[in-house]
């Protein structure tokens, strides 16, 4: 089964790294096939940016995400651009403080990624909080696979903080705190 994911926000939030870690988790530690690609504006920071990940049990031919089954939104601009493109029955997870919307639904999760990261001492790990929430809300990649991928992808001295942030996002949704 082929599942498509899109992570979107602005440059500097670690969206691209998060997408890479997600794809790597599936391809190297979860026995799946995975493709990761990225798109971003000419600006390095502040411009719109998005990561696309496809995870499948079989070889992946066409490597493009068209209508994602899982959509993560970390900015208002990302919501405007990608919000309407989610697949029917798809799951949407958004930063509750950065995306303003009245859209509700049982498949919509609003998680304060950035605020939870700030509570851990550094907003730079908001992307790991987001991956944690994604792992809790979906069965697309196993928790252990994701944690191993984080361990092998970030600087060694930042591994504990990144894993803590991942756990914070995971627990937030796993414990049903989402409104």
């Amino acid at each position: 089964m082929r599942r498509e994911l899109r992570l979107a926000g602005f440059g500097g939030q670690g969206i691209i790294l998060a997408g890479y870690i997600l794809g790597k988790a599936a391809a190297l530690y979860d026995g799946k096939e995975a493709v990761f690609s990225q798109s971003y504006g000419p600006e390095a920071r502040g411009g719109a940016c998005a990561a696309a990940v496809i995870i499948s049990d079989e070889a992946i031919d066409y490597p493009v995400v068209t209508r994602p089954d899982y959509l993560v939104l970390m900015s208002q601009e990302a919501f405007t651009i990608y919000g309407p493109l989610v697949n029917e029955g798809g799951i949407v997870i958004m930063d509750r403080d950065l995306v303003e919307t009245t859209t509700e639904g049982e498949r919509i999760y609003r998680v304060p990624f950035t605020r939870l990261a700030e509570e851990l001492g550094n907003r730079i790990v908001a992307n790991m909080v987001m991956l944690g929430a994604l792992a809790a809300a979906t069965d697309v990649v196993g928790r252990e696979a994701m944690e191993e991928s984080i361990r092998t992808s970030v600087r060694e001295r930042t591994v504990p903080l990144n894993l803590k942030a991942f756990a914070a996002g995971y627990d937030y949704l796993a414990q049903g705190e989402a409104a």
């Binding site: 890479y20 794809g23 790597k24 391809a27 190297l28 096939e33 995975a34 493709v35 990761f36 690609s37 990225q38 992946i60 031919d61 066409y62 490597p63 493009v64 092998t152 992808s153």
Partner: protein, 385 residues
């Protein structure tokens, strides 16, 4: 995130560009000269860090003309040398690519194609350099060009490119594209002792032996043995038409003899060089011929056509040059039509047309994004109607 080993044996999650760099390292590349250009920059970036780690040389040159010249020089000194660029840089390299052909200097050039002509679309994909790879430098010559369709294949084909370059003493091109270059997938890197390595043919004569003619092709493969600078041989290497001794011989007869040999060493060995992948071709009525990122869209289109009961198949070109004309000709005996999707306005299609009398339909886009499967499927439907 990288070790200090030359061959990073194991499983990795790499974008095509990085896989090209690791393929070079695994192949024993010890010299890279280049000028960064999107979407190939990650190759230079990776090698700028990795080559010094393993005792190799990374040089950033002032431009692509100099980059090409530098890898030719390194090659003549015995190095396994490569560069990486994109269309605008590939254009600048053309003069010296001819020099590499004439001097028979083995080297590898990766072209991560973007939208063109000129600076075109720096960050977006194209496939419009594939004819330039064959004909871009002046004169008659033959080269080999591979087209990877995944990061794994980027790794594998850079290794193969080095071996083909050394085997035939030619520049070899890896014609990647922005989609493959910037897409990450699992890449399996085998143990170092399982990486195939072709050694350059070396002279059977000792330095100083006057009967040694460095540009005489004594063997059936028409490839002369190669001496390296500093080994004690007195060898003249010239861009002018030269005789077997390597000295200028700018007359009609030696010119025809040399140019014919340079072309023949590839043409007569083409059957050993040409590679392709066959998908569902056994009973195919419609054959899609595709390469690089477009082959992935074509794979989907063929699967969708099969679901509709159309007997479609895919001939995925792994070597663009030499072209798999014989295969197209063989497929013509069973297939009724060919579909050739490309991110250009119709380049490799001209080669398909040379080897079949059946209808050949192009599906073309000038570039900027990977081609969706739908227009390819539409073309397949159209030709069976």
């Amino acid at each position: 995130m990288t070790g200090n080993a030359r061959v990073l044996t194991g499983q990795h999650f790499l974008m095509g560009d990085v896989a090209c760099a690791e393929g070079g390292l695994a192949a024993g590349c010890d010299f890279f000269a280049g000028y960064p250009i999107t979407p190939s920059t990650e190759i230079a970036e990776r090698l700028s860090r990795r080559l010094p780690e393993v005792g190799g040389v990374f040089t950033q040159m002032e431009d692509e003309i100099a980059s090409m010249a530098a890898i030719i020089g390194a090659s003549m000194a015995g190095a396994r040398a490569m560069t990486a660029t994109s269309g605008p840089g590939f254009s600048l390299m053309m003069e010296n690519i001819g020099l590499a052909v004439m001097m028979e200097a083995p080297c590898v050039v990766v072209d991560v194609q973007r939208g063109s002509p000129s600076t075109g679309l720096p960050t977006l994909a194209g496939q419009a350099d594939v004819m330039q790879a064959k004909w871009g430098s002046h004169g008659d010559y033959e080269i080999v060009a591979y087209a990877p369709s995944s990061p794994q294949e980027s790794f594998d084909l850079v290794i193969k490119a080095f071996n083909t370059a050394d085997r035939y003493r030619i520049p070899v091109f890896v014609m990647a594209d922005e989609v493959i270059g910037h897409t990450a997938e699992r890449v399996t890197i085998p143990p170092a002792d399982q990486i195939p390595r072709v050694q350059r043919k070396r002279p059977r004569y000792a330095p100083g032996d006057e009967s040694f003619l460095p540009f005489r092709a004594e063997d059936e493969d028409l490839v002369p043995p190669m001496v390296h600078a500093g080994e004690g041989y007195r060898v003249n290497v010239d861009s002018l038409t030269h005789d077997e001794k390597g000295y200028p011989a700018t007359f009609a007869e030696p010119h025809d003899r040399l140019v014919r040999r340079l072309a023949a060493k590839i043409r007569q060995n083409a059957h050993q060089i040409i590679e392709y992948e066959e998908l569902l071709l056994d009973d195919a009525q419609v054959v899609v011929v595709a390469y690089g990122c477009t082959a992935r869209s074509a794979r989907r289109a063929v699967a969708l056509a099969r679901q509709e009961g159309i007997r479609a198949g895919l001939l995925r070109l792994i070597t663009l040059w030499p072209f798999a004309g014989q295969k197209v000709w063989e497929l013509s005996s069973q297939a009724a039509a060919f579909v050739v999707p490309e991110l250009n306005l119709g380049q490799m299609i001209t080669q398909v047309e040379r080897f079949t009398s059946h209808p050949v339909v192009g599906v073309n886009h000038a570039g900027g994004a990977i081609m969706p499967p739908e227009p390819i499927l539409d073309a397949i439907r159209e030709v069976v109607m």
